[in-house]
Symmetry: C2
Subunit: 355 residues, 2 copies
């Protein structure tokens, strides 16, 4: 069945990717067998609760930029894998970080924990919640691979796509582990923070999705190399922007509160950069914030220090350099002009100063 | 590179599956990229520590029984997926069950927890250990799919294999969730215990591996149906035998200690059957054992009760019925006679009375 039967045909233009993608996502979810209903129900809720579909979007533009070979419906179906992989990452990360809210609702392990409590079941509610959430994440990972393998790609296209897909999954896991290690080891080096950004954000969110799209379009090595370079630079810049928002807050209504990263003790590049420039007294304040607990006064003090020390300017400058070099990479090979314009727009959206 | 280059060619006979399989497993592990070295190292250790390779073995005999079409080396490479999936199941189950020992060494979460403690890292050692183990299990699941997709199967063979593979993964997860729910809900019904056995052991360990092997051989629907029926029956019988061993112990030197399942509060078919036949007084003793804690005197009392009530005889009888009907299923279609003899042998090994 064509995805176009389930969305208005007016929407089937390449620039109406969101509608096509959501149709494919819901089609996939609707066709899952009902073997693990409680686990599947939570996963479906989570997918429906949204997210920005950034990874599928980058992959789609990568596919179009590389010439867009193959059946459009099949490609969209294959990209459902990216959204499901992201669900695996979020559900498992939330267990690891003990997060309680995600996409405006309780996290998966919280939902199962509360069910255990409400039902007065035997044993530890927290352990049951965590265990069920691990299984939901496992299911998301299995479904992600199912989406790619059963999308209807030719054997050759599937093998091409599997190269970036294989790399992306393990890079996502490696990034998460480095993130945990950073907190455990009280990591302060800029190099390490940038390595996590390169794996968790650049590779997983931008570079590999673009690579996957290009592979689906059977792109040549030049196109792949340029798209990946663009993705690496823009991806790290995106993480740096997120580091700033994580401390100074997002002015948009739905955004992050001021000081959120500080409250979570995140070892960001911003903090590493600040530590490397700080005098002993200022460094002690920053370290106190990283070790937590953090109150409003401390958040305000750290915000002031980050500006004063020049860490904010240094990060802004680094973002500029990365975006400039990323955009330059797009000019070094022949790409579909419409898709290229979209990539430039996406790069801007992900990295531009918000306030 | 043929697997035969890495094992003595004398061993390349179909009946020397273990050597071929271990060569393929080690080849796969040796060729993984070094992106997440700490996670990969633990997974490699776990694979090397062994296991009986039961799932690959059943899949191999299923492939042979169905005529063994296709390249032997490619099939063996594909079956590596089954062993890696089992690693995912074990690592995540051990976190959920708080197990400390697996295959004669500390469980993965224990290894990471001890490393955290030894290094005097920041934060909770247990949380770090559990988180790292979740990631190792995720990596195992991703690698399992990688093994199947990159084994060198034709596009058509991969799509055929993906049908049982897809089912098997979700059945494994559903079985584990039902197992958790059984403990939480103090489940006592025989039906529920048999449902867990059908998913966790029959489907995941015997039926789907046979189905996968048959799919790789491009077997017709008759052969698939008979092999699956055999697998379902023998698989449940295997779980029932395991229930008995879990209470009465395994006489083999390396086996399970007496009362292990009782100490873990497992809701087995054996206990459900006993509860359904017990008088009020006996039922109270059985429930006390299930709720724990359990000491040696209580283990001894429960062992006596299970025999006295007739639960042991009833389970033995059910095993006999299942093995008989499973073996009869093998006679209802044309199978390779040598592989059929092996399947009969494997069924015996998995279900025969040990003492």
């Amino acid at each position: 069945m064509s995805l176009l039967t389930s969305v208005d045909t007016r929407l089937s233009r390449v620039d109406d990717f969101s509608a096509l993608f959501d149709a494919a996502l819901h089609e996939f979810l609707a066709n899952r067998p009902d073997v693990a209903p409680e686990l599947a129900a939570e996963l479906r809720e989570m997918v429906r609760a949204g997210g920005k579909r950034m990874r599928p979007r980058f992959a789609w533009e990568g596919w179009r930029a590389a010439g867009g070979g193959g059946d459009e419906d099949v490609v969209v179906r294959a990209l459902v894998a990216l959204e499901l992989l992201q669900c695996c990452a979020l559900v498992h990360d939330d267990v690891m970080d003990r997060s309680t809210v995600r996409r405006g609702r309780p996290t998966v392990h919280e939902v199962f924990m509360m069910r255990h409590r409400r039902s007065r079941w035997a044993g530890s509610a927290r352990q049951y919640g965590d265990s069920a959430a691990v299984l939901v994440g496992d299911l998301a990972l299995a479904w992600a691979d199912d989406a790619l393998v059963t999308a209807g790609l030719s054997g050759a296209a599937l093998q091409r796509a599997w190269v970036p897909w294989q790399a992306m999954r393990v890079e996502m896991m490696a990034g998460q582990h480095l993130d945990l290690l950073g907190v455990a080891r009280r990591e302060e080096s800029l190099e390490q923070a940038l390595r996590v950004a390169a794996l968790k954000t650049a590779a997983y969110t931008v570079e590999r999705p673009l690579h996957l799209g290009a592979a689906l379009a059977d792109a040549g090595p030049d196109v792949v190399a340029c798209l990946r370079e663009f993705g690496r630079d823009v991806g790290v810049a995106f993480q740096l922007r997120d580091d700033l928002i994580g401390v100074f807050g997002d002015p948009a209504v739905t955004g992050k509160p001021v000081g959120e990263d500080l409250r979570e003790g995140k070892r960001t590049a911003l903090m590493a950069l600040a530590l490397s420039r700080a005098t002993n007294g200022s460094a002690a304040v920053l370290r106190r914030a990283l070790a937590g607990p953090v109150n409003d006064a401390l958040v305000e003090r750290v915000c002031g220090l980050l500006v004063e020390i020049g860490a904010v300017d240094a990060v802004e400058e680094h973002i500029d350099v990365l975006v400039t070099s990323g955009l330059a990479a797009l000019d070094r090979t022949a790409l579909d002009p419409e898709a290229k314009r979209e990539l430039v727009k996406l790069a801007g959206k992900a990295t531009v100063r918000k306030a």
